[in-house]
Symmetry: C2
Subunit: 191 residues, 2 copies
DNA sequence: CGTGTCACCGACCGTCGGGCCGGTCGTGCA
DNA sequence: TGCACGACCGGCCCGACGGTCGGTGACACG
């Protein structure tokens, strides 16, 4: 029994990854401000002081979590950069995205909880969500541009519906997310 | 000058009302957990101790705020209890509600911020929002029942869209809420 | 087997925030 | 005009939390 004491020593990269994973899960279930540093630390079997050795402050930890998520997500939206040529292919792409989101419940909850917390202008992630929102809208507008008569209205409508439906689904997993999506899409993608 | 000292003495009912109004505004802009008791008190020119004389605890204050809101709202939705007979009148009613919501930005923000905070099961308002959500959905389903082929899907779709759009609007007041609503309604109320 | 590095820890500090306690003073009523 | 009630306050306690500091022990390297 080499680790007779509970103390574990890991290479920094590995430990950072472990912390970020645990923090992501914790934030998703209980928010950021509501979770004390000790909890993040305990979740990977260490103390506050140990955790602060890897991240200089609690806020820095949050930033790292968000950056990690962005990094992981970027590998999956490469296809959406070009404007869609027609409604059918647009719908197909969106359906894929929706399906994928359905398998990532904790991640969605992370964003839902954090985005709400970050409504307060003094929240450490406020700016992050502010810019992310406008970028997202611009991207959608550009993507819809080719085939919809009012890309601006349509972009907001699509984003709002998906966002609202996700919130709903997070609070009540019983609803049939895909059916709801198809119903909406039937009308939305009919020009 | 009778109130030479800054001290004001009010009849309890009046003071309670003043506190609830101030608390509503404060919670809407900064959440509940994020605002210290002193802030609620200071907002109506008193101290923590004075406020706690009227509400036994901080949580009790929150409950009172929500109950007050419900009371005020109940006077305005009396018309919605009966199922709508046809899409046209349903749309008309909803448009009225939307218009009214547009004049109540702080209230909407209150609900948005609190509902997010209350996702944590240990939040004092968790149960409140849980029941409120399912009641709301049931009410809508019942209301839509008469004229829509799939009231269950439609209720969630309508609620999700409105909720999402409101969140969007809270973060970016620049969007044209009414235009977005009409666009959505054009399709939604066409059977 | 000695030695240095560094991941990690225990204990502590300052601050903040909720709630309580012993008053104090404004006010309706006799 | 006095008195009693109760709205309200100053000050305190205590637990929670973010962050610091001086170690300490696990592991590489010799």
């Amino acid at each position: 029994m080499s680790p007779a004491s509970g103390r574990r020593r890991l290479p920094p990269a590995e430990r950072r990854e472990e912390i970020l994973k645990a923090a992501t899960a914790l934030i998703a279930s209980s928010g950021f401000k509501g979770v004390p540093l000790d909890a993040f630390a305990a979740a990977c079997g260490m103390t506050k002081a140990g955790l602060l050795h890897h991240f200089p402050s609690k806020d820095a930890l949050l930033v790292a979590v968000l950056e990690r998520r962005d990094e992981l997500d970027l590998t999956n939206i490469a296809g959406a950069l070009e404007p869609a040529k027609d409604p059918a292919s647009a719908r197909e792409l969106m359906t894929t995205v929706v399906r994928r989101n359905l398998t990532q419940r904790p991640i969605l909850k992370l964003y839902a909880v954090l985005a709400a917390e970050a409504l307060s202008p003094d929240h450490p992630a406020h700016a992050y969500f502010q810019t992310r929102l406008s970028e997202g809208r611009a991207m959608f507008e550009h993507w819809i541009l080719a085939w919809h008569p009012r890309p601006d209205l349509a972009a907001v409508e699509l984003l709002a519906f998906l966002d609202g439906l996700q919130h709903y689904w997070l609070r009540d997993p019983g609803i049939d997310f895909l059916a709801q999506w198809e119903t909406f899409a039937d009308r939305f993608f009919t020009v």
